[in-house]
């Protein structure tokens, strides 16, 4: 019994860590633009496809190797970042001075655009993600089995999150990002090129989503152009749960969501898996709209 519970926790942790990578992008973009980037789930999808094509191009599926995994990750992250740059530059930047709802509608439009362009270009049938890295065997602790792939996925996620944490809190760029998220005008009075920082923030957040696309491809090796819809919505919930705009919050919210889903599936009602995130969203909006780590920032007039 306890063992089963532990097994679910391990699964939940690895799922949650992937959610966290996506949730971070939501929270970062919200931080600098106060925009829920609804196209984020589709950037994650594109990341998975860039990973798919680059792994096939380099023939990494012939033999499993960590190098193959890292190169695939690198390609997917660069691809998503490049896409993010284009989205920000051509869809969002022209609306910088427009009412916020215009931006939101544009985000939904970009999302649909990517989904259907994806279907047009990649075809709507699912593709099998190349298994660039297939570790053999499980780690067993008595009855508890830990899949090495899960550990690798979890490890890479933690590594990327650590890197982000370092960038945001220890570097000049990170300081500029936090300044821009506090107030654009004030940041530009410091001499910070706010447009550039917004663009970079977008790219970093999307690179993380691209990495998540590859990691998901390893665990659930079936990718299709609409694969971003559900994780996109769920990770948005995770970011809200943690307190949108808060980086630690996004990670904690995503881990909670991942584990909650896994426990729900294991003990109660597997069919409600996808409903859980939305139940959480409703509860959080009712009882703690600022999220677990969010602070209520009253705006001074």
């Amino acid at each position: 019994m306890a063992l089963e519970f532990l097994q679910h926790l391990v699964n939940g942790l690895s799922l949650g860590s992937i959610y966290a990578l996506i949730a971070l992008g939501y929270t970062m973009v919200f931080g600098v633009l106060k925009l829920i980037n609804f196209a984020h789930g589709d950037v994650y999808m594109i990341g998975a496809f860039v990973g798919y094509f680059s792994a096939r191009f380099f023939r990494f599926d012939d033999h499993s190797s960590l190098t193959g995994l890292f190169v695939t990750l690198g390609c997917a992250m660069s691809g998503s970042a490049a896409l993010a740059f284009l989205i920000e530059r051509f869809a969002y930047r022209p609306l910088r001075k427009a009412p916020r709802v215009n931006l939101l509608i544009t985000a939904v439009g970009v999302s649909l655009f990517l989904q259907f362009t994806g279907q047009l270009v990649f075809g709507s049938d699912p593709k099998f993600f190349p298994q660039v890295y297939v570790p053999t065997g499980d780690w067993s602790y008595g009855e508890l089995k830990i899949n090495v792939l899960q550990v690798v996925v979890f490890g890479i996620s933690i590594l990327l999150m650590g890197l982000l944490q370092f960038i945001v809190f220890k570097t000049r760029l990170g300081r500029a990002m936090r300044a821009v998220s506090f107030n654009h005008d004030l940041a530009s009075l410091m001499g910070i090129p706010t447009q550039k920082i917004i663009s970079i923030t977008f790219m970093i957040g999307s690179a993380l989503a691209g990495a998540a696309g590859v990691l998901v491809g390893l665990i659930y090796p079936k990718i299709d152009p609409l694969m971003g819809v559900m994780p996109g919505l769920k990770c948005f919930v995770a970011a809200v749960l943690g307190g949108i705009g808060n980086i630690t919050g996004a990670v904690v919210g995503a881990l909670i969501l991942g584990m909650a889903e896994e426990l729900l599936v294991g003990y109660w009602a597997p069919t409600y898996r996808d409903a859980l995130a939305f139940a959480i969203l409703i509860l959080i909006l009712l009882f703690r709209p600022t999220g677990l780590f969010g602070v209520n920032r009253t705006e001074k007039v």
């Binding site: 936090r178 004030l186 530009s188 009075l189």
Partner: protein
């Protein structure tokens, strides 16, 4: 060539604003405002709430595009530059309402003030300099700036602007919402900064105090310049005394 030519060419004016107008949508905020600041002086812009004082500063810093007029700083036309490029010309702005990054520590705020500084060596030196002016900030350097008192937050806003080694320092209502003793202290420090060679454009509602440290003053009313002169002339002017000094 006339011997006077080099005299006038020697451009003792650091900043000259001419016929500056700014609209917010259909509302005209300021109309054809003109003034010049001499190198090394304190010029104060006084006027009631809503007279357009802050708008003038925001236009100089490039935060709002003017609908007309020129702003020339050391030969550069600022209206053509983005805000972060204007800071690179070392025009540093401490915005009103203690505009500091409440989500960052005191030291991180100061560090951002030095963002455009090309020379990272001078950072430690500049930090010592502002800590000399504001010892309280040194005690609290690691604290989150949201935990500072109102006076300390204002000091931080000024200190941060100084970290950019300003040739022109724009101060927007540094006395706003502060206790009289603290205002006194802040004005002393502004005077000290000026004596060290920094030119200051001081926007204030607190006319009496501002005119006491300034050399020249300008009075704005509903977006227009209605009076200008030396600080002493304005202090002596009946209109100013009535309208702004409560006599």
């Amino acid at each position: 060539m006339s011997p006077y030519r080099s005299e006038t060419k020697n451009d003792s004016f650091l900043l000259s604003v001419s016929d500056l107008s700014v609209n917010y949508g259909v509302i005209r905020a300021i109309t054809e405002v003109s003034f010049k600041i001499k190198k090394g002086e304190i010029l104060t812009l006084i006027g009631a709430n809503g007279a357009g004082k802050t708008t003038v500063l925001r236009a100089i810093s490039g935060l709002i595009p003017p609908s007309g007029g020129q702003i020339s700083f050391e030969g550069f036309e600022l209206t053509k530059l983005a805000p972060h490029e204007i800071v690179q010309k070392r025009v540093c702005h401490a915005p009103e309402g203690r505009g500091i990054f409440l989500n960052l520590s005191v030291e991180e705020n100061l560090d951002l003030g030095a963002w455009s500084s090309p020379d990272q060596h001078s950072f430690a030196q500049d930090l010592e300099h502002v800590f000399g002016l504001f010892p309280r900030l040194k005690e609290r350097r690691r604290q989150n700036s949201g935990t500072l008192s109102g006076g300390e937050q204002q000091m931080l806003a000024i200190a941060r602007a100084l970290m950019g080694r300003p040739r022109l320092l724009l101060l927007d209502e540094p006395s706003l919402g502060l206790a009289p003793q603290i205002i006194e202290k802040i004005f002393e420090i502004i005077q000290k900064i000026n004596q060290e060679g920094t030119t200051v454009l001081l926007v204030e509602q607190n006319a009496l105090q501002a005119l006491q440290i300034a050399r020249h003053g300008i009075v704005l009313e509903t977006g227009r310049v209605i009076l200008r002169g030396t600080a002493q002339e304005l202090l002596d002017s009946e209109d100013v005394r009535k309208a702004y000094l409560g006599e």
